[in-house]
């Protein structure tokens, strides 16, 4: 048996995450994302390759289920296209928050499609709704029997509300696909959490394959200082980001800070989108960090005190303010964040904060990469950028230490890296192989990797055999435990001796493991004892006779 992995997206790249894994005849698609810097069909994974690989004529027959790890577009953006245009009708799984947040995210993206006038590959608002209606929501740790053989389970991944790592198992072959994850808790989400599972394969993201980050608190302070400096000088702060996740995290940070400073300066959320997502956050508080859950009794922490709704006409209002606007990274092709940026960028009093990662081609990328003071919008217009630029140095992705820690914790037999940049992945692969001694791969898009998978033989064993075995420590809790707790249990067999027994194979009967004595009995043998004695006892024995 083997696990076959076809990487359709995020292979040596960040964008359009999509991996199709074939485990013992079951085919699971992990994530179905779009590439944010491509247009039309080229932004989608090449789904046709699944049909080619499987020999099936349609996607529903080829794929057992689709599992989406979280609501970011590079992980979910192509889903309505896959279900409504390509015609996949099988089961789709995602966590409750992901299902709740997905329509907003997808609708956000659909507007970009319309703005950019895609010639092909567009989907409609109705497609989004129809697609999400079919989604089966998942709770964390819930074991889902997809079909007779395929089992999946979601584990907490941090990163964004509802993000999950996915465990999939067919027979004895098991794997985990991490999606994006964070190994340290942030303002509103906990750190990734997973059981110590027996895995043949781990597919992990590797966005920050080479970066080790220092204290989050220090980075947060830098951000607050930049904001403080700007607003106390009467400037405006533009924080372009995507609707979900980072917005709530930064909002909590600012809301707290405002409370402490006793400020009345307005914090705005653009468009209805992000306010709407706060409503979801309030209902999904069970998916935030333990700290929030523990402290939350009656007041909901996502009822932000200082946050207000932003009207388009406020753009030219005087006085300081903070504005959260979509989309993140600021895109030439439009969006509200771009509109505001055009107005605010020329003043040196103002501040624009940018996320840690801006895709090439975005204005964010240009602002970060150099002292570019002039942004060409089109032939006739340009923006003179004089405002301050602050780059957020904390990220919802794990750093390289976190990746290594997770790999070591899970100790899979094989590792595949996705969602990263090629040279960094090469570096991490070396580390995984040399430090952890596990074979590691980082296939490019449309390449596939095959790894061998565990196969166990099932047989029965007698109670005597089981009780005679040494007791082991459980994998789950390191508490001493009993194999079976009959009266014949004794402390003596807690040392780690080997299990010793006889395998009895009889024609037309199931294989059975039993103890020596039982074998003698079952087969009706006459036991012949063989003893070793010192020479001297032969003489005394003889003398005695």
């Amino acid at each position: 048996m083997s696990i076959e992995c076809l990487v359709l997206g995020a292979g040596q790249d960040v964008g359009k995450s999509c991996v199709v894994a074939t485990i013992g005849g079951r085919r699971v698609m992990f994530d179905c994302g779009v590439h944010l810097f491509c247009r039309g069909r080229s932004s989608y994974p090449e789904f046709d390759r699944i049909l080619a690989a499987s020999g099936a004529t349609d996607f529903t027959a080829a794929i057992s289920c689709v599992v989406i790890t979280h609501s970011h577009l590079d992980h979910i953006g192509a889903l309505p296209y896959f279900t409504e245009v390509c015609g996949y009708h099988g089961p789709i799984y995602m966590t409750y928050p992901t299902k709740a947040l997905a329509p907003m995210m997808l609708e956000d993206y659909r507007k970009v499609m319309v703005d950019q006038q895609w010639e092909e590959g567009q989907y409609s608002y109705e497609d989004i709704l129809r697609c999400l209606k079919k989604v089966i929501p998942l709770d964390l740790k819930q074991t889902i029997q997809v079909d007779k053989d395929l089992v999946i389970r979601a584990y907490y991944a941090g990163h964004v509300l509802g993000a999950a790592m996915i465990y999939a198992k067919v027979g004895d072959a098991a794997m985990v696909y991490t999606g994006d994850y964070n190994m340290t808790p942030d303002r509103h989400l906990g750190a990734a959490q997973i059981d110590r599972l027996k895995l043949d394969l781990l597919i992990t993201e590797s966005t920050y394959a080479k970066t080790t980050r220092d204290s989050r608190r220090a980075r947060e302070r830098e951000f607050l200082q930049a904001v403080h400096k700007c607003v106390s000088g009467g400037g405006k702060v533009l924080i372009p980001l995507f609707a979900v996740g980072r917005a709530q995290e930064l909002c909590m940070l600012l809301d707290d800070y405002w409370e402490r400073m006793n400020w009345k300066i307005p914090i705005y959320f653009s468009a209805g989108l992000t306010i709407q997502s706060n409503t979801y956050y309030k209902m999904l508080i069970g998916w935030t960090s333990q700290k929030i859950k523990d402290n939350y009794r009656a007041h909901n922490p996502f009822d932000f005190k200082h946050v207000r709704h932003f009207e388009r006409s406020f753009i030219n209002n005087p006085g300081p303010c903070v504005l959260f606007a979509t989309p993140g990274m600021i895109s030439n092709s439009g969006g509200f964040s771009f509109e505001v940026f055009k107005k605010w960028a020329p003043s040196e009093k103002n501040l624009v904060t940018l996320p840690g990662y801006c895709g090439p081609g975005s204005i964010g990328h240009k602002l970060m990469s150099g002292k570019s003071t002039r942004i060409e919008v089109d032939k006739d217009t340009h923006i003179d950028v004089r405002c301050q630029i602050h780059q957020l140095a904390f990220s919802p992705h794990t750093d390289s230490k976190g990746i290594m820690d997770l790999i070591e914790f899970l100790s899979p037999k094989h590792v595949i890296l996705v969602h990263g940049e090629k040279p960094l992945m090469a570096f991490l692969k070396e580390r995984v192989e040399s430090e952890l001694g596990m074979p590691c791969y980082y296939p490019a898009n449309n390449e596939s990797v095959s790894i061998p998978a565990t196969k166990n033989l099932k047989m029965s064993a007698t109670e005597r055999f089981i009780t005679s075995c040494a007791s082991e420590q459980t994998e789950d809790n390191l508490r001493k435990q009993k194999l079976i707790c009959g009266s014949n249990m004794s402390e003596a067999n807690t040392d780690r001796k080997l299990a010793e027994g006889i395998l009895l194979m009889e024609k037309n009967k199931a294989v059975k493991i039993l103890c020596e004595d039982e074998l003698v009995q079952v087969l009706g043998m006459e036991r012949h004892l063989v003893q070793n004695e010192p020479m001297v006892s032969s003489r005394t024995g003889a003398a005695g006779e």
């Binding site: 999904l284 069970g286 994998e475 299990a499 395998l503 194979m505």
Partner: protein
């Protein structure tokens, strides 16, 4: 497998006091639910003492938890599986006992949270007695001696069929907040569908039972049997996630512990006789139709999951609401001391709707320690709600209407009657939801005192407890009393169909349902349990299933015994995790592995000699063989040794390990062994 039923449904019915059991599996003890039976409370007079409290005990109440008492008696419990918030309530009684130091308690996150709130509230309300009488010192109070106790016992017997033997010790002083904390620390909260491993060999899984938020059915998968613990369940719910029966399919044994229909028989039989006859006949017809079809599972499921039950429930609650509206219209206030979370949530929605449609503006008060927290967290647990409410999450609406009622100033939450802001907001007529249904504890006592003589007012009581006794201290009454019952579990006529879908091998059924479930032609067998008795079920299978890694299998050296049989010696490491026995390769394989350790059949000494010589040994039969059947082989080189062979034994006398090793090897070649 051994099952002892510790308590059947106590006062307040199966919702407030579910049955509890002690289950022994593979030598481990599982306690299934640990509720408190609050019936005994009715025999205590509420405080402050006013009115006619004649015959009621004037002292700090003690509490009855047969499950906790029985668990304490057996000395220790390995794990507790709890199916509902009410099933947690008795656990703090056990918190301090030494036999419970390592006990693990498994309960769903939501039931744990609700249970904790309920326990805290109980302790808080109980404090009113302590303030009045002084603390219960733990000594035997005066009322527990002599006449009084006998009276109490006879009343209890009437109400809960308490056995005379076990109640003196069972009546316990209430636990402290510290006990609750200790108990909470032992709790391992789980989600629906989460498989947790207990003690390596058991996999435990909670699935939704549909009765209430966080209530669960448990699957216990042991190495040799899978067991379903099935407490009260509801197929379709208006608030909680529906009964997830499909996850219970094909478990070997079902412990059927839904005793709600037993209660129905006791209480409703007289009133509903005529109606019930119709219904039984009707359902019998339906059932026989179903049985004839045999395998038509879809139809069975359609019968199980039809909306009839929940429609009736909504109708009942709507009826209550219309009575409430009538009382309000007449200028009276309404007191609703109902302790069911689901009913409260539905009532709030339906009352406010009705108030709105009849354009009446009266405030709704929830007066309870826990009101604020309950109301907040019920709007933040979409995963635990029925599908229609989950849809609300996905369309961005609040999960329950109470969110809007609060915002619009129609619903007010206060922890106590003496809360500061309550006086300011208070306006009569009003509708008050508050604890406690026993009418002995909490704000309900004070409000009933206030309104009991007003015939315009309405008291909504849950049927099940002895209403006459409950209302005794408030006599004479002018207030209208509406007694109502709510959906509490499976209807008897659905049991057979459900079992048909679940396909168990054995069903453990309460004695009381014996006559109601047909045995004829069913592929499963029934075992009947009753309170205090232990029933035993032999192992369904003798052997254990183990998994052998292919790497271990490849290293095996099988030896063919005859045409049909082969044996191989196995040396491996046995791991147990997540209920699976796994034989994995040992790190180092000693060369000993080639040596036979087990020999059988006789050794032919005439074949041994050449085998030894082949190994380069100089040997000969010893001359002094006697006639007893023993023969000896003397080895002189390379070392000195003597081998004595009888029909069932070979002894190698030798001081040199190498030589004896060689002899052993030679012997192995002429003897059957492994």
């Amino acid at each position: 497998m051994k099952l002892t039923c510790l308590s059947t449904t106590g006062g307040g019915g199966s919702y407030h006091s579910p049955a509890s059991h002690l289950l022994e599996l593979e030598g481990l003890r599982f306690l299934l639910d640990c509720p408190i039976d609050l019936t005994a409370l009715a025999d205590f007079s509420p405080v402050p003492l006013t009115g006619d409290a004649g015959g009621l005990i004037r002292a700090v109440p003690r509490y009855l938890s047969p499950a906790a008492a029985a668990a304490a008696k057996v000395g220790g419990i390995d794990a507790v599986l709890v199916s509902s918030a009410t099933g947690v309530l008795g656990l703090p009684f056990l918190a301090r006992l030494p036999g419970f130091a390592h006990t693990k308690i498994y309960v769903t996150e939501v039931a744990a949270r609700t249970g904790k709130l309920m326990m805290g509230e109980l302790v808080e309300m109980h404090r009113e007695f302590v303030r009045y009488y002084g603390p219960d010192t733990g000594e035997l109070p005066r009322w527990m001696e002599g006449e009084k106790l006998n009276e109490l016992l006879s009343m209890l017997e009437k109400a809960v069929t308490v056995d005379k033997g076990d109640d003196l010790t069972s009546l316990m002083p209430l636990y402290s907040p510290g006990n609750i904390e200790e108990c909470m620390q032992k709790i391992q909260p789980v989600k629906y569908g989460e498989e947790v491993c207990f003690n390596g060999i058991f996999t435990l899984k909670a699935s939704s039972s549909g009765l209430e938020l966080g209530n669960s059915v448990w699957t216990i998968k042991g190495p040799r049997a899978s067991i379903t613990y099935l407490p009260s369940s509801v197929f379709v719910s208006a608030h909680a996630l529906d009964f997830d029966y499909s996850s219970l399919k094909e478990n070997d044994v079902i412990l059927f512990s839904d005793l709600s229909s037993l209660n129905d028989m006791d209480v409703d039989n007289d009133k509903l006789d005529e109606h019930a006859m119709d219904e039984t006949e009707h359902s019998l017809c339906r059932r026989s139709v179903l049985r004839d079809d045999g395998a038509d599972v879809d139809e069975k499921i359609a019968f199980l999951c039809n909306n009839d039950d929940i429609k009736e429930e909504i109708e009942r609650i709507s009826y209550i609401c219309s009575c409430i509206i009538d009382a309000i219209k007449s200028g009276g206030s309404v007191l609703i001391p109902i302790g069911r979370l689901g009913v409260i949530l539905l009532l709030l929605e339906l009352i406010s709707e009705m108030l709105h449609s009849s354009s009446i503006k009266v405030p709704i008060f929830m007066v309870s320690e826990t009101a604020e927290e309950i109301i907040a967290f019920t709007n933040a647990l979409p995963e635990w709600l029925c599908k229609s409410r989950q849809e609300k999450l996905f369309s961005g609406e609040a999960l329950f209407d109470h969110v809007d009622l609060l915002k619009e100033g129609k619903l007010f939450l206060f922890p106590h009657l003496h809360s500061k802001d309550l006086i300011a907001a208070w306006k009569e007529p009003c509708i008050v939801l508050c604890p406690h249904w026993s009418l002995r504890l909490g704000p309900a006592v004070h409000l009933l005192r206030r309104w009991h003589a007003d015939k315009r007012c309405l008291l909504v009581l849950e049927q099940g407890s002895d209403a006459e006794l409950c209302l005794k201290p408030f006599m004479p009454l002018a207030i209208q009393v509406l007694e109502c019952s709510f959906l509490s579990g499976l209807r008897t006529e659905k049991i057979d169909t459900l079992l048909g879908v679940l396909k168990p091998k054995f069903v453990m059924l309460p004695e009381g349902l014996k006559s109601r479930c047909s045995v004829k032609g069913r592929p499963w067998s029934f075992l009947y349990y009753s309170k205090g008795k232990t029933i035993e079920l032999p192992n369904l299978q003798e052997d254990f299933e183990v998994h052998l890694g292919t790497d271990v299998a490849h290293r095996l050296q099988p030896r063919k015994l005859n045409e049909t049989t082969a044996v191989a010696r196995l040396r491996a490491k046995l791991h147990v995790s997540s209920g699976q026995y796994q034989l994995a390769a040992a790190e180092k394989q000693s060369d000993q592995s080639k040596r036979h350790l087990l020999h059988w059949d006789a050794v032919d000494p005439d074949r041994l000699l050449p085998a030894l010589q082949e190994k380069g040994m100089v040997c000969s039969f010893a001359a002094d063989d006697d006639s007893s059947g023993e023969r000896s082989v003397l080895i002189t080189s390379p070392g000195e040794a003597l081998v004595k062979i009888t029909s069932d034994r070979t002894v190698i006398y030798c001081d040199d390990e190498r030589t004896s090793g060689h002899i052993f090897d030679a012997l192995s070649r002429v003897c059957n062994g492994i």
